[in-house]
């Protein structure tokens, strides 16, 4: 178990490092020199040279990457080209804010979608399934920016119960941000729920048709017991990965929704960095995204181990 964890963590770290390298390399490949980009029209040769010097661009890329990575490990992501401040500070704040939405979304979407998915799976082809499946299809067919726009129109402008946009900046206390979390959470949950419900439904249908559930039924057990004790653990297994991928997506994919709500999260930070070619920020965001992705997958694996003793105990006997 411990060795397993160590191995997984090491491989996760490798993945993050490789991802960081990819981003770093991609950034190097961007047409145009960073210095020229930043200077724009004022890019006289001397100015470019000076800035290159200042940005440390004159040393080999490999060396810079190693140094950067060494800093990143210690939480030092360098300095923003735009604000001149350390990247880490605003990165953590934006990440914290996004995690706020992400946590709320995960809580809402995962619970509701599992419940809905199980119901749909159990009532396969009957009206609850038809209803839930139609709703999820609708949820999958409407882009989140449409959902977000409609929500603002309905709940902020027509009936102003919730803020349309976030007025606070990234460093606002969590308490101040809470009311602003509601609408983004709803918008994201709609989309996310749709996918997880479908997954859960299929998985429940599969498992309910499995031999061991049939056996449990034929043992004369109650329906609740069959579903909760026998079917659910196995049914949730394949769902875990979908959830993990959705959560990972949340952290990188909230761009559109954060944009609509002016929410000071990592998506907004990313968009700003892309626009202003703020490479250190961009790179830091990419790494944070990769870390979240890797952690989500790790969490999914651990959850899978909790649900599946086969993974937990390792293969022992068997013939």
């Amino acid at each position: 178990m411990l060795t397993f964890l160590t191995r997984r963590l090491l491989s996760a770290a490798g993945t993050v490092l490789l991802a960081a390298l990819l981003v770093f390399a991609a950034v190097q490949l961007l047409p145009g020199d960073v210095a020229t980009q930043v200077l724009g029209q004022d890019a006289t040769p001397e100015a470019v040279a000076a800035l290159r010097d200042q940005l440390d661009l004159n040393r080999p890329a490999a060396l810079r990457f190693v140094e950067w990575a060494a800093g990143a490990v210690r939480g030092d992501f360098g300095t923003s080209l735009v604000s001149g401040e350390p990247v880490a500070g605003s990165l953590w704040l934006h990440l914290r804010n996004t995690l706020l939405i992400a946590a709320a979304t995960v809580a809402v979407a995962v619970t509701s979608s599992i419940v809905l998915g199980v119901v749909a799976g159990l009532y396969r082809d009957r009206w609850p399934d038809t209803l839930i499946s139609s709703l999820t299809l609708a949820g999958m067919s409407v882009p989140e920016f449409v959902v977000a726009t409609l929500l603002v129109l309905a709940l902020s402008i027509t009936v102003p119960v919730l803020p349309a946009v976030v007025l606070d900046e990234a460093s606002a206390p969590v308490g101040d941000l809470l009311p602003a979390v509601v609408l983004p959470t709803v918008a994201l949950s709609v989309v996310m729920t749709a996918y997880i419900v479908r997954m859960t439904r299929t998985s429940v249908i599969d498992v309910m048709a499995s031999e061991f559930v049939t056996t449990a039924r034929l043992k004369g057990l109650g329906a609740w017991r069959v579903v909760v004790r026998h079917a659910l653990p196995s049914a949730l297994l394949p769902t875990l990965n979908v959830i993990a991928m959705n959560v990972a997506w949340l952290v990188g994919g909230v761009v559109v929704v954060e944009n609509v709500f002016n929410y000071p999260g990592i998506g907004k930070l990313m968009l700003e960095a892309v626009h202003s070619r703020d490479l250190p920020v961009l790179q830091a965001v990419a790494v944070v995204g990769a870390v979240v992705y890797v952690l989500c997958n790790l969490a999914a694996d651990l959850a899978a181990m909790a649900l599946n003793p086969r993974l937990r105990t390792g293969e022992r006997s068997a013939r």
Binding site: M140, S141, T149, T202, S203, V242, G253, M270
Partner: protein
């Protein structure tokens, strides 16, 4: 040994019962899809969108790009069924033409992503060993980079244009296709007919083309339909963020972005493209479901 479903004894009669899944018989697939109402609806939706895109100029007397300052922001009327936008352009005309951009770019992007992903995924599955390890490692890292970030970087750097969008979407989705296709190909690779080919000493490429590809064609097709629906959404999101089509191209995402503030004044200027977009995505989703069902592909599991 227990009977799964009736199987013929050694009499030579065709197998009954089992859903026929025969090679090359698109007709059988179609028939099986048409038996399901949702799948039929999906196919019809997609077909209607394709038809509209093809016939758009015949369906409306208005140009989708002509500005008519005199008739801006009109509500629906006999002249303009869905009203006009802020520049006086006929909303219906723009929506009808909008499918052209959405369909072409999405189709091209999906095709590239799926083709590339299929190639790499099959190769990794068949070759196995170190190549597979390497591919999966790199893939994992690529998947770890937030896709939207990759997309935005590509688009900001190369500028927004159909070709760039296609490239960007390929970059983002190909790795996911690789995973799915690889898993499917891994399911086929150990099967005896592939083993037979390997025992003959056939090279990897003929094995891939002759033995593996035909048998994961279903997975790939379902993948295609499913990805297409995501790609349509993604491209509209990009347009919405201002990274998509150049004005005055009629594009649904762009239209929604342009007109969403005015939703209370001219609701149809944004609702019409929303409806168009949603129905196309819905159609693709339903078709993917139908295809998956007809071929017995577990769509959700494949999606992992």
């Amino acid at each position: 040994m227990s009977e799964a479903e009736p199987n013929p004894v050694d009499t030579g009669g065709p197998v009954k019962g089992r859903p026929a899944r025969r090679a090359g018989t698109a007709r059988a697939t179609l028939r099986s899809m048409l038996r399901s109402k949702p799948a039929t609806a999906g196919l019809v939706l997609v077909a209607v969108h394709v038809l509209i895109a093809l016939l758009a100029p015949l369906l409306t007397p208005y140009s989708p790009t002509a500005n008519a300052p005199g008739s801006a922001l009109l509500g629906p009327s006999a002249g303009h069924w869905a009203g006009t936008d802020a520049l006086g352009r006929d909303v219906l005309a723009r929506v009808l033409h909008g499918g052209r951009y959405a369909l072409t770019v999405s189709f091209a992007a999906t095709a590239c992503a799926v083709a590339l992903g299929t190639l790499v995924g099959c190769a990794a599955a068949l070759k196995g060993g170190r190549l597979d390890g390497l591919v999966m490692r790199v893939l994992d890292a690529v998947l770890a980079v937030p896709p939207i970030l990759a997309l935005l970087v590509v688009v900001t750097v190369l500028g927004a244009g159909p070709a760039v969008i296609v490239l960007a979407v390929t970059v983002v989705y190909a790795p996911q296709v690789v995973r799915v296709v690889r898993a499917a190909a891994m399911g086929v690779a150990p099967l005896d007919y592939v083993t037979a080919a390997r025992a003959r000493g056939e090279r990897t490429f003929p094995i891939l083309v002759r033995e593996v590809l035909p048998n994961i064609a279903d997975v790939v097709s379902v993948e295609f339909a499913m990805r297409a629906s995501w790609v349509v959404l993604l491209i509209s999101s990009l347009s919405f963020l201002g990274f998509g089509a150049n004005p005055p191209t009629p594009d649904w995402g762009l239209m929604i972005a342009e007109n969403r503030t005015a939703m209370t004044v001219v609701p149809w200027a944004s609702l019409a493209p929303i409806v168009a977009l949603a129905t196309l995505v819905l159609g693709l989703n339903l078709s993917a479901d139908g295809l998956a069902k007809a071929w017995g592909v577990d769509r959700v599991k494949e999606a992992q």
